[in-house]
Symmetry: C2
Subunit: 329 residues, 2 copies
């Protein structure tokens, strides 16, 4: 607050209404109160323009109606969608969101968890990369895309199934030689299974494939080298690419354009995530779509469920394929 006389308190309302403090509290919280009392109090509230002070309430109840969301940033459109939907779900349930951007900084991930506890949030939803992260036991905690232990519920989409689906789709679209490209992190998380699903399906269908994973520290230009190495007589030997994320797919497509390889005529490309620019417009690339809305819903309802014991430890939600112009269909 700033200058000016400070906001009215419950005591002010009580005095104005000629009623006890506790009675005001019960009216404000919608508890059982005699009709005439309720009316007097409500009149006084309107009169004074009273609104309860959340700090006071939080101090007394030791709960803030706030959930912390820990996420790298909001620049990547996938994260931005996630933030949006999680916020919507929280708002429905009258919770607030405390947003924490880590920028992929591992020490910040730790710090934010501490800060969340300090602020007495009622739960944490976290999408993190620190391999040594310690999840506090004394606070409802839900992770996205990374499984820690059976006592920490994890929400993810069906990454394995998505990889499988991508391979099948490429085959259907007539591809005969494929590759999987990703920016590797040494971290093992749910999205790592995209590759596994892809590989399994390729093996089962007898579809040839190669894997190219950029390890931590290798420059992006390695992809250029990799692709160049696979050009014979000015023609790329792959006719289908499955790429770890839409973001990377987008960059690879720029690269292909620069190399005068046409998409989807010469090579068809499928990404992963389901990014659409400007909300409900077309998909940026052909892609395996993550069900963001459902993921958000699952995170929120899980983190808010009191009886965490009865909650599954891995919630895996179905993905779907969407055309985005970088495949023939």
């Amino acid at each position: 607050m700033a200058k000016g006389k400070s906001a009215p308190t419950m005591a002010d309302v009580a005095r104005e209404a000629g009623v006890a403090l506790g009675t005001v509290s019960r009216v404000v919280n919608g508890e059982q109160v005699g009709e005439e009392y309720r009316e007097k109090v409500q009149a006084a509230i309107r009169q004074l323009g009273y609104r309860y002070n959340s700090s006071g309430r939080a101090l007394r109840t030791d709960s803030t109606n706030t959930i912390a969301l820990i996420i790298p940033n909001t620049i990547n459109p996938y994260f931005s969608l996630l933030v949006h939907h999680i916020n919507c779900e929280l708002e429905k349930r009258n919770y607030k969101m405390m947003l924490c951007f880590t920028e992929y900084d591992r020490s910040r991930e730790i710090e934010f968890i501490q800060m969340a506890q300090q602020n007495r949030v009622d739960g944490v939803i976290a999408l993190t990369y620190n391999p040594n992260l310690v999840i506090p036991e004394d606070i409802p905690f839900v992770t996205i895309d990374r499984f820690f232990s059976v006592s920490v519920p994890c929400v993810a989409s069906d990454n394995f199934g998505g990889g499988w689906m991508a391979a099948k789709k490429l085959k259907e679209l007539g591809c005969t030689n494929t590759a999987f490209l990703r920016i590797g992190s040494t971290l093992t998380h749910e999205p790592s299974k995209r590759k596994d699903g892809f590989v399994s399906a390729c093996v089962e269908m007898g579809l040839p494939f190669e894997i190219m994973a950029l390890e931590d520290g290798q420059p992006f230009s390695e992809f250029e080298r990799f692709l160049s190495d696979h050009i014979k007589d000015g023609k790329l030997s792959f006719d289908g690419l499955f790429i770890g994320t839409d973001s990377l797919a987008w960059r690879i497509i720029q690269l292909l354009k620069k190399m005068n390889i046409r998409v989807p005529e010469d090579v068809q490309v499928i990404g992963f995530d389901g990014i659409r620019i400007f909300g409900d417009q077309d998909y940026v690339v052909s892609t395996i779509v993550q069900p963001v809305q459902e993921i958000a819903e699952a995170c929120v309802s899980t983190v808010l469920s009191r009886h965490l014991s009865s909650v599954p430890s891995l919630i895996c939600l179905p993905v779907s394929y969407a055309y985005g112009g970088t495949t023939k269909e």
Copy 2:
């Protein structure tokens, strides 16, 4: 918090360290304390894993180190960038952000302002559309893109200059017949000046132009009709378009594609905002770039400046042109 013994308090630390409560407080807040006391307290803090309780502090000091950011959503990449940069600036100064999505809902805008006051935030940054919004006087308030009164600082980019720049650029690029397209809102705000700048420059340079503004309620298909009406012998009579936002520009370009009009060969298109997909990748369309980082910095430093009297009431930041493939250069 949840189950388990509750977190240690200052009293616990004081007892552990054999020291008075107030002393602990002063150590925690980095105030002057005798060396031996400080050491004893810090040891006890480490020992117990103490972290201060923000609710208690907030109640006592009537301030939360939190700024509310009221914004439509985070789906539009421009908003998403803004959120990101504002959060970074706040974090630098050790403030938290309370994020409020209005979804362009005017009643929500009002509600969030009340909620912000209720939560005793230390200030509000708001990007709103409600024409009748009442700005509270008793709390630091900064608006983005909309000027309310001299007592409420407004941060915006140089919309007029940007419109002007767009016209000049189109002329430079050889355009001889132009149009300005926008989705109109009846609201007068800073971005409305984009048109004014464009018109002024066109008039001054003798560049022909038309205006097409979609009013509230008119369907998007009106744009299709408008463009069709301007086709003669299969050729669009405009060779340059300036469009109110990148988001709309993107949709218009999809439309042009559908109509078999080539961009930029047949018509060059300039948008406004400076959206880049996937962060630092290329601009989505050729555009007038808003200096988001500077806007964020201005918002934050203004809302946090104690002496609001000496702050300008309209902070207008320079824009720039960026090539994004929808113009010849």
